[in-house]
Every structure is written in C-alpha cells, then in structure tokens.
C-alpha cells in the first residue's frame, strides 16, 4: 500500500479514520485549487505570511531609520522602488515590516474573538432558558453598535496602542460568532450521540467542550476567514485616526494618515500603503469565499 497516493486518498472504503480524513482534506484542496480566484487569495495570504516572517530579507532599508536628505523621493528612484516618505524612510521596507503589525493584529483578534463567541454561543444554545435569553440579549446589544464606533469608544477609554486596538476589535467582533455557534449548538443539542454521552454521565462542561464546540468549529472558521478582511480594515481605520499603532511603527493605516498631509504633491506616500491594505484584504476575501464554498456547500454560489 503506497501511502499518500491518489488511489489511497480516494479509496471509497477507507481502512482507517485517518485515511478517510486525509481523503476529505485532499478533495477539499482539489476543489479549492480548481477555483482560480480562491487560489489567488491563498497565494496572496501565503505571500503576506512569508514576507512578515522573513521581513529582513525582503526589506531593502531600515524601516524606521530617517535619512533626511532622501526625503519624499519618487517611486522607482534609485534604491527606493516605492519612493520615500517625509523622513526619507523607504516605503517598500516600511510596508514589508508593516505586514508584521497587520498579521499580529489579525492573529490576536482571530485567536480571541471566536473563542469568546464560541463559549458564549455554545453555553447559550446548550443550556437554553434564562441563560440563553440573557446571553443573547447581551450579544444583541453588542451587535446593535456600529463596530468601528464601539471600537473607538473602547480605545478612547483604554488609550491608543496596538494591544488596545486588538482588544477593542476583539470586544466588538465576537457577537456574530456567538450567533453562529448558538445556531449550530441548537441542532447538535438534540442529537442522539449527545444524549448517549449524557447518559454515560459526562458533565455539561465536558459535553460542551469535547462534543459540541468541535462540531461548531467549521462554520466558525468560515466566518473567521470572511471576517479577516474586516479586521484588517478596522485596524487600519483605527491606525488612520491615530488610535491604533503609534509612530514610528510602520502600520499601514498610520502611514496613509501621515501621507495625507502632502497628498496632492507627493501622492505615493498615502497611495502605496492603501494598495497594500487593498491587496491583502482582497486576498483574504477571495480565500474566504473559496473556503466557504468548500466547507459549506449549502451557501455556494451566493
């Protein structure tokens, strides 16, 4: 038996659970790669990750070193492919290092908000009754706020900075996950295998975290990938307003805001970071759309 051959992966009667799962993942990848737009998205996202990890290799200059005699150089000028900003810092190198900030924010938010949402949603859906009413009321209140404005209010209270921006975005991003997890839990709660686990004497906590939460994960993951672009845009918005990352950190939204002062004379300073945000968000959106089609065939084509 040759492991990892196409026949082994597509075996209609898999010998083990691992083989079946590997086959499913293989089929999902095939479907994802056949979707050219999703593949483009995946490449963009992978490129972002590679650039962020190996930033020193891609950067041509120090992202924070000021070289005042080189200030406001045009794009494609010698040594500065995307030009320089008002302090003579190379814009390409700043974008490269800025990808770390962006990825850092996205990772932290996607590690916290879905977990909060998952806990609240599964508890709410599993116990029902008063717990459900109270938790869903709270969720509705957070959903009723426009996200950016609530994040603004939180940052106003906590003070500006990357960590506080992450906290503010996470605090405003969890309600949709809670909704999704609750809806899934409601249908899982009444299944036979949950009843079987309960009859075996498993505690509520055990049922929730070992049996209900894992079943909610796929739909939550789809939402997370679709939300990543939104998280990037909100973080950039906070940075633009001066409430997120602080100078001299090369955060993309902050870079746009500093380029705004000489938009009409030196257009590239504000334009380039915006293009970076646009490309990365588009990548996440394309990948999210593709993943949804693979993981959740019910909603494909919509």
């Amino acid at each position: 038996m040759s492991v990892l051959s196409r026949e082994w992966l597509l075996d209609p009667s898999p010998k083990s659970r691992g083989q079946a799962r590997a086959g499913q993942i293989y089929l999902g990848c095939v479907r994802l790669f056949r979707n050219r737009l999703a593949l483009t998205g995946l490449i963009v996202v992978l490129a972002l990750v590679v650039i962020a990890i190996f930033a020193p290799l891609f950067a041509t200059h120090d992202p924070v070193a000021q070289v005042l005699q080189d200030r406001l150089q045009r794009p494609l000028s010698p040594g500065h492919i995307l030009g320089t900003d008002e302090f003579g810092r190379d814009i390409w190198s700043r974008l490269v290092y800025g990808s770390r900030v962006t990825l850092y924010i996205v990772l932290l938010v996607t590690l916290t908000a879905p977990v909060i949402g998952l806990i609240i949603g599964t508890v709410s859906g599993y116990f029902g009754g008063w717990t459900d009413t109270v938790l869903m009321r709270i969720t509705d209140i957070f959903l009723a706020f426009p996200r950016l404005i609530l994040a603004l209010a939180f940052v106003a209270a906590l003070g500006p900075g990357v960590e506080n921006a992450v906290l503010a975005i996470a605090l405003t991003a969890w309600p949709p996950y809670a909704r999704v997890a609750r809806a899934e839990t409601l249908s899982i709660r009444s299944t036979d295998y949950i009843a079987a686990v309960r009859l075996q004497g498993a505690s509520s906590g055990r049922i929730l975290f070992s049996h209900v939460a894992p079943m909610c994960l796929p739909s939550v993951i789809v939402r997370v990938t679709l939300d990543m672009a939104g998280i990037i845009l909100t973080a950039a918005g906070l940075g633009f307003l001066g409430l997120g990352a602080q100078p001299p950190l090369p955060e993309w939204g902050l870079m746009i805001s500093s380029g705004r002062k000489f938009l009409f004379e030196q257009w590239w300073v504000a334009t380039m970071p915006g293009l970076a945000i646009f490309i990365v968000s588009l990548g996440f959106n394309l990948l999210g759309d593709g993943l949804r089609d693979v993981l959740d065939p019910r909603s494909s084509g919509k």
Partner: protein
C-alpha cells in the same frame, strides 16, 4: 404581493392579539437594547483613566474643591446609583456638557447630525440606483462577463479602506481633474455668503440653499457633496448589488417565473416586474441595514473630507478627551442603528408572510 386575508373573525382577532404582543415585545426589546447601550457607554466612561473632576477643575484645584466636586457629581455614590442617575439623565436628553464647545452634548449633536444624515442619504440613493440594476443584471446572466464584473466590483468594495478610497478620490477628481469641490461643505467664499444669505432650516446644506433659492451656493454645495457621497455610495452599492444578485437568483428559479415565461410574458417584464416585486421586501431591509452601516463609514469619511457631521464631531471630541461628547455621540449613533435594525426587522415581518411563522 397579495396579503393573506382570512375571512373568519376569529383569525382576525388572533392576528390582532399577536400583533399587540408583537408590538409589546418590540418595545421591550427596544428598551432592553437601549438600556444595554447605556450600560456599555457607562462602563466605558467609568474605566477611562481620565479623572472627570481633574478635567473640569484643572490641575490647580484645592483638595476641598475636588472633594466638593466629587460629591456634587455623585462620584461617591455606589455604582448602581450612579448608573440610575445616568439613565435618568440620558432619558431626559441630558448627556452632559461638551468640554470642547461648553454646550450641552445633545445640542451639539443636533447641530452636526443633519450633515451626516444628508451625506448618508445621498450615498444610499446612489447605492440603490446603481446597486439594484447591477445585481439584477448579474443574476439574469450568471457566470457571464457582466456577472463577474459585478462580483469583482463588490469584492473590491469589501477590501478597500474607505478613508483611502476617499483620499484617492480627492487626489484624482479634485487634485488632478478639478471636477469636484475639495474638503468641507462649501468653498470658503461661498461659506461667507451662506452665513449671510442662507438661514439654517434643516441643517442640510442642499435643502437649505434650495429653500433660500441661492442656486449658485447650491451648485457649489453639490460639487462638494458628490465625491464623499459617491465614496460612501460605492460601499452601499457593493452590499446592495451582492444581496440583490442572491435574492434574484433565488426568485428566478421559482416555478411562477417559468409559468410567466411559458405564458409569453416578455423577459424584461418577468425580471423587472414579477421577480423584482417579490424581492422588494428583503431588499428594503438590506437598504435599511446599509444605511445603518453608512453611519459607521461616515466617521472615517468625514475625517478625510472635513465634513462637519457627527463622525467628525466624535473623532474631534476623542482627541480632546471630551468624553461626554464621545459617549453622547456614540449613544446617538447606537440609537439610530438600533432603530434602523428594528425597522428593517419590522418591515420584514410585516410584509413577508413567510417570516411570520
């Protein structure tokens, strides 16, 4: 759409009863959500590291003055009592006094809100005018070039930061082409004329100048509003066209559409009359929601375009640590958001019999 009417009076009474309890539930939801809104802003206001007494009296106040102010502001009471007072004040329209303008926050908000309302209304109109035809067009020929284009334009709308698109618009249409007016609601020269000749009636510059028959000021105002409204309208169009496409696709697969086609109804009539009428209700709820989201987009857009609306007011207040103004503005935006959400919910339940079960 025909309404389902039952002839027996028992059904009507039951419907009236369910209508009443539905209304009560709506009011209860509204009250609970509003109370939650106040709780959130109250908690945020309390965890702020800025001492309200210090910011009112300044650094040079004596210990006794500080203690007196603390007592007067009720800061020594238990939190729940403070929250009660906060809710009572908010319900009577008292959101405190802005440090920046030294006027009641509510008065400030009333002054700046029309500018935001005007901007988002025009943006929504643009979004509807372009979004619905684009979505319908995409749905009638799925997979075609037009469909791909509509999807791409929509996807781009979900991926571009609104403040950057605004800046690019300014760069191209104001800086390079000079087709539109720059930031602000009017050119500086017109601003003086407007102050003299245009009485503030609604606070919306297009309506006020039209009422005063100052057509050249009206024209200038129009040249200023068109760019920010288009930028916001683009986002609303992206959302509306995407939803229209998906609603329309669903309708066009229904049997009554086949029936209409078999009967020989012209294709344009099938699509634009039969199918469109059936997606009208969900579409209106989508439009109401997109209107609510524009309030959010307006915070960043108003900053870029120096548009004197609620968004700019909140961000300016934020930078001068004018917390009363920030929270007041947040509550107003949140309230409008809640009302629009409930309105779209209500429309949906009222006009779509399928949603009533």
């Amino acid at each position: 759409m025909t309404s389902v009417s039952s002839s027996d009076s028992g059904g009507a009474a039951a419907r009236a009863r369910s209508g009443l309890s539905g209304f009560l539930r709506l009011v209860a939801t509204l009250a609970a959500t509003f109370l939650g809104l106040l709780a959130v802003t109250f908690i945020i206001g309390r965890i702020i590291p800025i001492d309200p007494v210090l910011s009112i009296l300044g650094e040079r106040a004596t210990e006794e003055q500080m203690a007196a102010a603390r007592e007067r502001l009720g800061l020594n009471d238990p939190l729940i009592v403070q929250f009660g007072i906060y809710v009572r004040d908010a319900l009577s329209g008292d959101f405190g006094t802005s440090l920046l303008t030294s006027r009641p926050v509510l008065e400030d908000v009333k002054r700046v809100f029309p500018a935001t309302l005007e901007l988002s209304t025009i943006a929504t109109i643009l979004g509807v005018l372009f979004g619905i035809p684009a979505g319908v067009l995409a749905a009638t020929k799925p997979g075609s070039l037009a469909d791909q284009l509509v999807r791409l334009v929509g996807l781009m709308g979900y991926s571009m930061p609104v403040f950057w698109l605004g800046l690019m618009g300014l760069l191209i249409f104001y800086g390079q082409l000079d087709w539109v007016g720059g930031p602000g609601r009017l050119d500086t020269t017109y601003e003086f004329m407007a102050e003299l000749d245009v009485p503030v009636v609604t606070g919306m510059i297009l309506i006020d100048t039209a009422l005063a028959r100052q057509w050249d000021i009206f024209g200038n105002a129009l040249s200023h509003i068109i760019l920010p409204a288009s930028v916001l309208g683009y986002y609303s169009m992206a959302y509306i066209s995407r939803m229209t496409r998906s609603f329309m696709l669903e309708q066009l697969g229904q049997e009554y559409i086949t029936t209409a086609r078999v009967k020989g109804v012209p294709e344009w009539r099938v699509v634009w009359v039969h199918a469109l009428r059936n997606i009208a209700v969900p579409l209106i709820t989508v439009i109401a929601l997109s209107y609510a989201y524009l309030l959010e987009g307006s915070v960043l857009t108003e900053t870029v375009f120096a548009w004197p609306g609620l968004g700019l007011y909140i961000t300016n207040a934020l930078f001068s640590s004018d917390i009363a103004a920030v929270m007041g503005g947040t509550i107003v935006v949140g309230t409008v958001f809640i009302l629009l959400n409930l309105f779209s919910d209500f429309l949906y339940k009222r006009f779509d019999p399928r949603a009533r079960a």
